[in-house]
Amino acid sequence: MQKKNRLAGFAFAGFAGALLMLPLTAAQPAAAADDKTITLTCRQDDTILTGMEWTLYRIGTRHGAEIEFVPELSAYSMDLGDLSADAVDTAAKTIESYIAAVNLPPAAQGQTDASGELTFSGLGNGLYLAAGKTLQVGNTMYYPTTLLLEVNNAGTGLNYDAYPKFYYTDVSSESRRYTVRKVWVDDDDSAHARPQNVTVDLYKDGAIADTVTLSAENDWEYRWDTLDVQSEWLVAEREIPVDYEVMIDYNQSQFLIRNTYHHSQETEVTTTPPAVTTATTATTPPPQITTTAPEKLVQTGQLWWPVLPLSLGGVVLIGAGISMRSGKKKDET
């Protein structure tokens, strides 16, 4: 069964430069034939990126506002957002990660030529994902963005030129540090749906290189300290939790795996109260923990108050004594 993902707000304009609509001429009677081509042009400023390896995958087809994934990918509940221009990059990275996970066979592969161009030909209608490999030119590493491309019959030509974007860094070391973090996008009510942990596979050039478990104990985070800069590194959540969709994003030091809760009525579990059992042992309520505020503020005064009563008392007693002595003298006289 193939999973169909809805494309909310599917806007052709929003795909410009990202999810490329490859227009083919309507006059072509064999428009659905495998006769279309995609040409990638890889240049960054004045640098022609010759020899950059690209792999093209056919990931499915679009039907109106829905994407019908190929069977290998249909089992994964991916969060592709609204596929707007801002979101399509992340959608492409998410799909790319699960292409690595299922080891999807490529539709075509090749390298850019001396002019930085690569043409994939013989393509039929459908959705394609183009993933490029990192290329070192001099002391600079070029990281191509992943492209989502659509070939259909709506256009006026058989070929479409695509211009990938590139991120580039100076080669400062042979290895990189990557941190993978799992984030949950749900509310408190759905937190119970979270698993205790998730398994994340690290892929190096499409093959599993490491597997880690993320959980609350490690704050849903793990770091690899020495991943070589020449390889393509991807991560994928091995099993997407029930009622969640996954989105994967990455850059040159971070992998973000985001699980968004989508409550489905079909999987709602009704709970019944546990059966009442008769226990012979007496149960005691849990101890009540009570906190009490200090009853009195700290005493910060010197002992001044006795001074006045002592003084007054002394004066009174002395006066009384003198009075007693005077009375005694009168009695004697």
């Binding site: 991120y167 580039y168 860094t169 100076d170 400062s172 941190t179 973090r181 984030v183 994003d249 990455y250 850059n251 040159q252 030091s253 971070q254 992998f255 973000l256 985001r258 505020a293 200090p294 009853e295 009195k296 503020l297 700290v298 005493q299 910060t300 005064g301 010197q302 002992l303 001044w304 108050w305 006795p306 001074v307 006045l308 002592l310 003084s311 008392g313 002394g314 004066v315 009174v316 007693l317 002395i318 006066g319 009384a320 004594g321 003198i322 009075s323 007693m324 002595r325 005694k328």
Partner: protein, 231 residues
């Protein structure tokens, strides 16, 4: 025996007056000792408070800035910064010193309180300056908090912590709180006031309490710290 009754009465009266006088002498002496101790500790603290650490120099980043993917999912709760380390002088730990310019006082503040400690210096009773809920208690020695009742609205109070951070406060209002009214002492912290000073009334039954609020654009670096830095 009856003949000597007046003598006993006078003697008892004299003893009571002597007791009152002795108590006064004891209190005054204790107050002076506390004043001398506090003055000495304040001078030590001013010397011991380090210059603020220089901001770490950022290595030039040759790479284009990357978006922090994790930032949008950072915990919403405010980051709790650790209070600075206490400075130990003798057997006591101090969290900073207090200045009351209107009263001409500079006093050390111990980081925790106990009755023996209160006899030597004002003590942090609760909270921190960073969290705007600092409460400082002190004896009512004239050289400690005995005259805080004379502070007026708008008077300045300055607290400098052991990292050299200066917190400037302005007196908001004064109140007298019953010694048993703990809730009132803590009410309104970080909303109605940012700093509280309190001490006993002469009777010891109530607490003279000064509430102050932080001035804006704080904290700043202390002059002493800047002098350290310049040196």
């Amino acid at each position: 025996m009856k003949h000597n009754a007046w003598k006993l009465t006078v003697l008892l009266g004299v003893l009571m007056i002597c007791a009152a006088g002795g108590l006064c002498v004891y209190n005054v002496r204790e107050s002076r000792q506390a004043a001398a101790f506090s003055d000495q500790v304040v001078q030590s603290l001013k010397q011991d408070i380090p210059a603020p650490a220089e901001a770490p120099v950022q290595e030039p980043d040759t790479e284009p800035a990357q978006e922090d993917l994790f930032a949008p999912y950072a915990e919403a709760e405010p980051a709790q910064s650790e209070p600075p380390q206490d400075i130990r002088i003798g057997n006591d730990a101090y969290c900073g010193y207090l200045e009351l310019p209107a009263l001409g006082l500079e006093l050390p503040v111990m980081s925790g309180w106990s009755y023996p400690a209160l006899k030597r210096a004002p003590c942090r009773y609760s909270g921190t300056a960073q969290d705007n809920d600092l409460i400082i208690a002190a004896h009512n020695y004239s050289a400690h908090f005995g005259r805080i009742g004379d502070l007026e609205t708008g008077d300045s109070i300055i607290f400098t912590d052991t990292s050299g951070q200066v917190y400037n406060y302005t007196v908001a209002f004064a109140e007298v709180i019953a010694g048993t009214d703990v809730d009132q002492m803590f009410s309104g912290q970080a909303t109605d006031w940012d700093l509280t000073l309190f001490t006993c009334t002469l009777s010891g039954q109530s607490r003279v309490t000064i509430r102050a609020y932080r001035q804006t654009d704080e904290p700043a670096q202390s002059d002493d710290a800047e002098e350290h830095e310049a040196a």
